[in-house]
Amino acid sequence: MIAELGLAILWMAAALAVLQLVAGALALRPQGAAMLGVVRPVAVMQGILVALAFAALITLFVTTDLSVKLVAENSHSAKPLIFKIAGTWGNHEGSMLLWVTIMSLAGGFVALVERRLPEKTLMATLAAQAFVSLGFYAFLLLASNPFARLPQPAPEGAGLNPLLQDIGLAFHPPTLYVGYVGLSIAFSFAVGALITRDVGPAFARAMRPWVLGAWIFLTIGITAGSYWAYYTLGWGGWWFWDPVENASLMPWLAATALLHSVSVLAARNALRAWTVMLGVIAFSMSMVGTFLVRSGILTSVHAFAVDPARGSFILALLAIYIGGALLLFALRASTVTEGARFAFVSREAALVFNNVMLCGILGIVLLGTLYPLLTEAFGVKVSVGPPYFNPVAAIFAFPMFVVMAVGPLLRWKDDRGGRIAPILAVPALVAIAAGGAAFVAGVRVLPALGLALGAGLAIASLLPLRGRNLRRTPLPIWGMVIAHLGIAVAALGMASESAFSTETLAALNPGETRQVGPYALTLDRIDPVAGPNWTALQATVSARYDGGDATVLLPQARVFANPPGTRTESALKTRWNGQLYVVLGEEGQDGRWQMRFWWKPFVPLIWLGGLLVGLGGLLALIGRVARDVKRLVAVDKIAFRRERQGR
């Protein structure tokens, strides 16, 4: 009953999306004023209906209704409640429904609160948004119905992949989806502004919170995903340049570029065409990401061929949206002027430079991710991995760090390099000292450069605060400073991890001790333990830092029954100067236990940096939205007063 209801509601929501598209398009005609009142309520209603459909699917998963195909294939009655709920989006159909839910809720929210844009531009925006979501409705309803029933209810569900039964991963996909969807809203704004030829500061201010919001969620999503991979995969790696990771990195890179250019557009009315173009690119990247992850093309072209309907569907959507947007851009580009001019040495110029560098990294990641698929078409399977991505991305990233240090100190429009050179002497000296020390210590080139630039940037990123009254510094400035500091901190963590990690692999009998870095580790004993739906072997390891008191670490090797699978549960001990990482492996032939120990100096800085970047974005968003709300309230008051005086 609930499944049928959910499906019916989903069809109704899709019908409303059609209405939203048609009414929005009609409202653009000179005589279309009658349609203006229709679009907003329809957009809100559409959002509410999809949310209801998604709630229906969650209900099916919570009650483990095994007559529903999706539940039977992905859930299990003996799973903890939180993972039953998370299982709703831990599969193809559910995650697509989640995508369309977030998207329609966001569209409804835009319809409710957006007041800055000219009415026609907003109508065009909402129509574009309906157009995008229609593709996903079609995909859900025609190619991947989440509410399909089984002819016979299954006796028991197949369960959820043990790797996914982790609280971090339960909330990882929704976080990324919010980011992707935020970019789709930014895309709709860009299309709306192109249609009405209204690309200017008002459009930039309306679009900015969505870009910022999307970017915050992507930042947090990527950071959390990286930490999840770090502690569950059990080998101490934190970034693998895996296509799935790249699929989330590419929209982030585009969103970072877009975020900075939209700020230039809002503040200076410059970079109009560039901003619109980046809006299109950012959404394209989130679609490419969805395509890569959802089509199954990643494991191999052949896995894609097993179920070509889905992959082709997303590919067709990709072509329609991106092709259409690019066509519109080409048609309208001549009418969108670049806007206000600026000199070579100016804050705008620095932002443009870094935008181009970000696009360079984006291009490299995109090419490297897709290249194996290309060569597979020629019958050769190649791998493109860290040895390619790390140095090649660094070609673009390192100059970008330098300009990041300089840019925020420059004035808008026109400046002289000589003015800020004395201010930058300190960070420059720090960078040279750090790089020199690393070089002398025998650190390889890339990590040494990373340490130098990270240290210099960390100091330079604080310089915009000099001479300011810190209490009266606007939140967006704080946001920028903290986000840039976060990038420097993350870079330091990455460089330090790569330069200074030490590893010890050991086969130990209980009672034996091994050294890793500053830690002496003793395997005390091995015990069996049990959880709600797993059993495990648990090692008790005493860790002594520099001969100090013992800390107990409890790494586990877990075995899941439904579906069968294993997972290593690494044990971590975090100190201010690094992290100890302990993994329990298998029992050897001679009865000794395989243990893996790592000491990774300053590795937590990677994720601390990521969180700082997200926090910076959040502060900027709060500052911007607070100002918008203040302005809205003031405008309303004036309107109210005028109305009273008129009476």
């Binding site: 995969l233 059990g234 080998w235 101490g236 790696g237 693998f240 895996d242 799935v244 990643l298 494991t299 001019r341 600026f342 000199a343 070579f344 110029a349 443009v352 430079f353 181009v356 560098m357 696009c359 360079g360 291009g363 490299i364 090419l367 490297g368 290249y371 060569t375 020629f378 050769v380 399977k381 190649v382 791998s383 493109v384 991995g385 860290p386 040895p387 390619y388 090649v392 070609i395 673009f396 429009k413 026109d414 590893e503 010890t504 692999l505 086969a507 069996p528 333990v529 049990a530 059993t535 072997l537 075995v559 029954a561 294993t566 290593t568 492996g585 298998e586 050897g588 032939q589 893996r596």
Partner: protein, 150 residues
Amino acid sequence: MKRARFISAATLALLLPLAPLAAQDSLPPAPYAYRQLPDPAQEAKAQALMETLRCLKCQSQSIADSDASMAGDMRNEVRTRIAAGEDPEAIRQWLIDRYGDYVSYTPQVKPLTWPLFAAPGVFLGFAALLLRGRFRRGKRANAALRKDKP
């Protein structure tokens, strides 16, 4: 006594699911799969190479990051050969000859991968062109801005 028996029965029940998994790897594991080379310099060399070789059984993990038994065998192979004094690139080539280009995370330079290596240069050139256009216009704007100033 009774309690002890209960505990051992419970332990056995807990461990039972492990049995079929253990059976898969009934061959004695390769000696250097989970053991480091005694010489730190050699181990570092082996580690650097292992990080650039793909585990063929996993999704996107290097053999240095994998628990798959095949990755263990490959680690053993790499460490043994490094200890015998073989050149890392020769070992990579040997593995490529056996398993194909797919096994190496470092793409090999050959006609099929030229675009991959040309890309950074092409992108840099493109970026330079884009920025130069800006710069030229910027220079003119500069002159105009300076002229406007009193």
